[in-house]
Symmetry: C2
């Protein structure tokens, strides 16, 4: 049986009864004090240990993690080395790994990104990519992912306050620009060869949870796409807000929370930091499962 | 006098009479045979030597280089290490360096990218960034660049064939989406504190050279922005096509050519490869200068 990121994600969500992923956004200054002290001035060492501990804690709870490469690129080559180590470590824990790299380019440059991030043996199972270049920017990633059935999530609707000024641009027939982007993704991501036995494509979409009515509309436009939904927790969206990204049978989306889980110990200073992360991860998974599954 | 990327670029273009930059898109398989042989299986070594030689050849000819990070990310941490070495080497040659990284994210993630790419001492003078998130995605880069007066180029109009399917989306009053994006860039990039003594902002725009009439319209919308213009050479645009990106006084844009210059020896197999690159670089600069200056 060939590997297929969409099928693997749908199965793992069902198995763990958790339509969620934890986002790894490690920031040195926010690491637990004792861990920082133990590594003295070795920031890369401390960040690596934190990431491995967080992954070990959440692996039994969630089907997938989203690793934000920006926090590793601060440290340039050493950080990128750690990023690939952490990706490989997460995969060894049987977590599906989404590399949140938001890469975007065309032609040979896009092929080069796809080679470094999707074809590589220590790369993630899926990456986030920009849709701004149209098909030319997506096809190299889709093709690079064919071997191994790797996935991409195309940025359609983001959850930040200023997104609307760009993405809500109104077209001649009242259609919003992000809906137009969604149609592009549904077309290129709807090809038969991309659809797995779950009915979902290995080309998904990033759809912010800020406005449920938008998610419902995008759910209609992109029936074959799994939605990666940011915005829960630190960014303010509730489980009920996120529910609109799912189909009626509870499939079709995975909700991400990053800082509200991995820095949960900042709100419970007495507790052991790993216990605080585990409790926050379990509460997050339960919150979504109770609304969606 | 404070540093200002826009001022430095305008001055360097005038000094060298060359409104162009050379793009470094190094691909191992296309390196000169003798150089590959000399480094045997050390791909990083061969790529590094090629980049340093190309930079040394073009430094007297052009004011700036654009380094495409995708070709380095193929090699993950070692490639990113080489990227930062090559950026630093180019700056030592008094070249202005544009890091073609097309990064895009929001909030703390965008700050993290900006820290790794613009605040770093071995980072470039400017980077390309995505505009899809609106101001939230741009402000962290603008702020990170304040110290050192570093620049950004926001993706407005790209030169690839499928760009139109996304970027030409038509708004209610007939405005195209890329024109709307240009207005956003003109607004956030038009702040007084961003404008240098040249009259240009350190927030510029990427404007593909494919359609001159579009460049003319974008020139009107973004009077304070320096345009980084891809599409010349391997991508098919001529110097005349590119001219529309410039103001009447010959300022306001810099045209990039990558593969047609750095792989020029593929078309002249008898010649020394460095001589072929030098000749192609000079012809490129002269071609643009003759039309624009």
């Amino acid at each position: 049986m060939d590997e297929h990121f969409g099928d693997n994600l749908v199965a793992a969500i069902a198995r763990k009864r958790a339509p969620v992923c934890v986002g790894l956004d490690p920031v040195y200054e926010r690491l637990p004090g004792p861990l920082r002290k133990a590594f003295r001035n070795d920031r890369i060492g401390a960040l690596g240990e934190f990431c491995r501990q967080v992954l070990t804690v959440v692996a039994p709870i969630v089907p997938a993690v989203k690793i934000q490469i920006a926090y590793f690129e601060i440290y340039q080559s050493r950080g990128v080395g750690l990023y690939n180590e952490i990706v490989a470590f997460a995969r060894e824990l049987d977590l599906l790994v989404i590399g949140d790299v938001k890469r975007g380019d065309i032609g040979p440059s896009a092929e080069a990104y796809a080679a470094g991030h999707l074809r590589a043996t220590n790369g993630p199972d899926a990456v986030t990519v920009s849709g701004y270049f149209g098909d030319d920017g997506l096809i190299p990633f889709i093709e690079a992912g064919a071997e191994g059935g790797k996935g991409i999530f195309v940025l359609v609707r983001t959850s930040n306050p200023s997104a609307a000024a760009v993405q809500d641009f109104v077209g001649t027939d009242g259609q919003r620009f992000y809906e137009h982007m969604a149609e592009q993704v549904a077309t290129i991501g709807g090809g038969e060869e991309l659809i797995g036995s779950s009915g979902y494509s290995r080309v998904g979409a990033v759809v912010g949870a800020t406005y449920p009515q938008e998610a419902r509309r995008l759910r209609e436009i992109m029936p074959r796409q799994i939605f990666l939904v940011p915005g829960y927790g630190a960014q303010g969206a509730t489980a009920a807000d996120c529910a609109a990204a799912f189909k009626g049978d509870g499939t079709g989306a995975i909700v991400n929370a990053s800082r509200s889980v991995i820095f949960a110990y900042e709100r419970h200073r007495q507790a052991d930091w790993k216990q605080a992360i585990e409790a926050a991860g379990r509460a997050f998974a339960k919150d979504l499962a109770s609304v969606v599954l």
